[in-house]
């Protein structure tokens, strides 16, 4: 360890640095959360007293987040998109895990790298390339057949596809790591006892993968929920929450209602993170 040949002064300095680092990490989050409870029209000091108005009040100018139509609609769209992305990416991620862990096929290493690549493409590029491609297809269909494919214009479907395109790499990696730890003799025992392929999959392999699938789904949901760069280019009239909040932050002087939303999101993702940790803990017990 480092404490050999080093005096206590060094260690003290080191500890102080670590402490300062965590204060640095916490500072902006604290600022964003605390002003949600300030009874003032601006998210700034001085402190005017505690209030829950920015959550529950139903009249202007202090419209709380649970009465703000646009914010609620954004929250709803984010939720729908997040669920869709999580479901799709876990399904494809599970297929990828079986493909890369169980199967041998030509150029496997090459395809494995191809699978990782979406994670290192900047989100903005994914957004514009999918936008360009979808619009090209939509225009082609419109010119050729006279059908307007509304689905391929910016909107919820494109946002889901755009986020799915890189979230799937994350879910695949999580599920692959779990499937690699699987003990093949368990399946073999089931086959020897006369179980069919489908039955072995449903009763042994998938239950083994379930913690990883749940954890991957939670990660996918959170990544989708907070994604901005890819979404920005693909969004139509149904803005998810991050876009709605950004518009407000950039255009209008913000009221503490944005702090209320921030606080709400922090608590929400914190709870989800706890759930995913509990799932992982179950995994350790098995």
């Amino acid at each position: 360890m480092l404490d050999r040949n080093t005096n206590w002064g060094f260690l003290l300095g080191y500890r102080l640095y670590v402490l300062a680092f965590f204060i640095f990490l916490a500072a902006p989050l604290t600022a964003a959360a605390v002003f949600a409870f300030n009874d003032s029209l601006f998210p700034a000091l001085p402190w005017q007293g505690f209030t829950l108005d920015w959550f529950f009040n139903d009249t202007d100018p202090k419209l709380g987040m649970f009465h703000d139509r646009r914010l609620l609609r954004g929250l709803y769209y984010s939720f729908v998109i997040g669920i869709a992305v999580a479901g799709l990416s876990v399904a494809v991620g599970t297929c990828n895990a079986f493909l890369f862990v169980r199967r041998q096929f030509p150029a496997k290493n090459f395809f494995y790298i191809v699978m990782i690549v979406p994670l290192v493409i900047p989100g903005v590029i994914l957004g514009i390339s999918i936008l360009v491609f979808a619009s090209t297809v939509a225009n082609g269909v419109e010119d050729g057949y006279g059908i307007d494919l509304e689905l391929l214009r910016p909107g919820i479907l494109l946002v889901v596809l755009g986020q799915f395109s890189f979230v799937t790499t994350i879910t695949s990696l999580v599920i692959i790591a779990r499937l690699k730890k699987f003990d093949g003799s368990m399946e073999e025992a089931a086959f020897n006892l006369g179980a069919s392929r489908a039955r072995v999959l449903a009763t042994i392999t998938l239950p083994f993968l379930r913690p990883a699938m749940i954890a991957a789904g939670i990660v996918a949901f959170l990544v989708s929920f907070e994604n901005f760069n890819t979404t920005l280019f693909l969004v139509g009239s149904e803005s998810p929450l991050t876009i709605t909040m950004f518009d407000r932050m950039a255009k209008v002087g913000s009221t503490p209602v944005l702090n209320a939303v921030s606080f709400f999101l922090m608590v929400g993702s914190g709870l989800l993170a706890v759930v995913s940790i509990l799932v992982q803990r179950d995994r350790a017990k098995e």
């Binding site: 360890m1 480092l2 050999r4 040949n5 080093t6 080191y14 640095y17 670590v18 965590f22 990490l25 500072a27 902006p28 989050l29 600022a31 964003a32 002003f35 700034a44 001085p46 494809v92 297929c95 990828n96 079986f98 493909l99 199967r103 096929f105 494995y112 191809v114 990782i116 690549v117 290192v120 493409i121 900047p122 903005v124 590029i125 514009i128 390339s129 360009v132 491609f133 090209t136 596809l161 755009g162 395109s165 799937t168 959170l222 907070e226 901005f228 760069n229 920005l232 991050t242 950004f246 932050m249 950039a250 913000s254 702090n259 921030s262 999101l265 993702s269 914190g270 989800l272 993170a273």
Partner: protein, 289 residues
């Protein structure tokens, strides 16, 4: 159906989702973007094949200056994140006690689950003219009037380091965690001082983690949009902003696609160079973290 056919069929079925995903959402869109970037607009609704969009980029210093600026600032942010994050990762992996280790690691991860937007918003509240820090400095009498700490490069860099540093710490902790303490002991026993042990043993061992952290951090920084805009203001000249402007504001998709292609080529080039210099592979670094 005989077992061999079954195997082949199931392989094809398993390969389908992967192939569709990569083909429809990654390969074809990027080809489409490349083709669009090579289309020159000669008259309304008349296009020609050529490198006009790229030539335009070279002729406008403001464009390539922005790309260079984005690149150098991203490298600076990556270096700062490594320097600031390495001691933290080492502390979590090697110095902290068993119990506090997990807690510290979790503390590191919590901001990861909060969106960039909220983090940038928090910084705005702290740093703006009417913000907390300006107010606190006035209260203790260090400055006389309100001071604007937003909209300058230092703030953008601090904000970016803040946003990405966790992606540096996480892979570092996981590589350092796998390192046997006996290796460090041995280094000291052979007469090395703290610095030699760090340079000759710890850093070479942590190299895969360092490379993968640097790749992720660099890509995230170069491709970031929110933090430079919100903390740097409208004139932060970040390249993603230029792309957005071409695409959405000016509706000039051809040059927007060309710019997107340049950003992709530039960042992939830097990542490729980094991998070559450190003799690592993409599969060996990013996939593991």
């Amino acid at each position: 159906m005989n077992p061999r056919d079954f195997k082949r069929l199931s392989l094809i079925l398993l390969f389908m989702p992967f192939a569709l995903w990569i083909l429809l959402l990654i390969v074809l869109p990027h080809i489409g973007m490349g083709v669009l970037a090579l289309r020159e607009k000669v008259a309304p609704r008349v296009y020609e094949f050529g490198f006009g969009n790229f030539i335009e980029f070279l002729h406008e210093p403001i464009y390539w200056n922005t790309l260079l600026r984005t690149g150098t600032m991203s490298m600076l942010v990556t270096a700062l994140a490594l320097i600031a994050g390495f001691p933290i990762a080492y502390y979590i992996a090697k110095i902290a006690g068993r119990r506090s280790r997990g807690a510290l690691f979790l503390l590191c991860l919590i901001p990861l689950w909060v969106s960039d937007l909220i983090r940038a918003f928090g910084w705005i509240l702290l740093l703006r003219e009417t913000g907390v820090i300006s107010g606190a400095l006035q209260a203790i009498g260090l400055i006389d009037g309100p001071v604007e700490l937003l909209y300058n490069d230092v703030t953008v860099i601090i904000g970016l380091v803040y946003t990405v540093i966790l992606f540096m710490i996480v892979p570092l902790v996981s590589t350092l965690d796998g390192m046997d303490n006996a290796m460090i002991e041995a280094g000291y026993n052979l007469g090395g001082n703290g610095f030699t042990v760090l340079r000759r043993i710890i850093i070479p061992y942590a190299m895969p983690g360092i490379v993968s952290g640097c790749i992720i951090v660099f890509m995230l920084t170069a491709g970031s949009y929110l933090t430079p805009i919100l903390l740097g203001g409208k004139n932060s000249s970040w390249f993603t902003e230029t792309i957005y402007e071409q695409f959405i504001t000016r509706y000039n998709w051809e040059s927007g696609a060309a710019f997107g292609f340049l950003l992709l080529a530039f960042t992939s080039g830097v990542v490729w160079l980094g991998l070559k210099l450190s003799r690592q592979t993409l599969a060996g670094t990013v996939a593991k973290s």
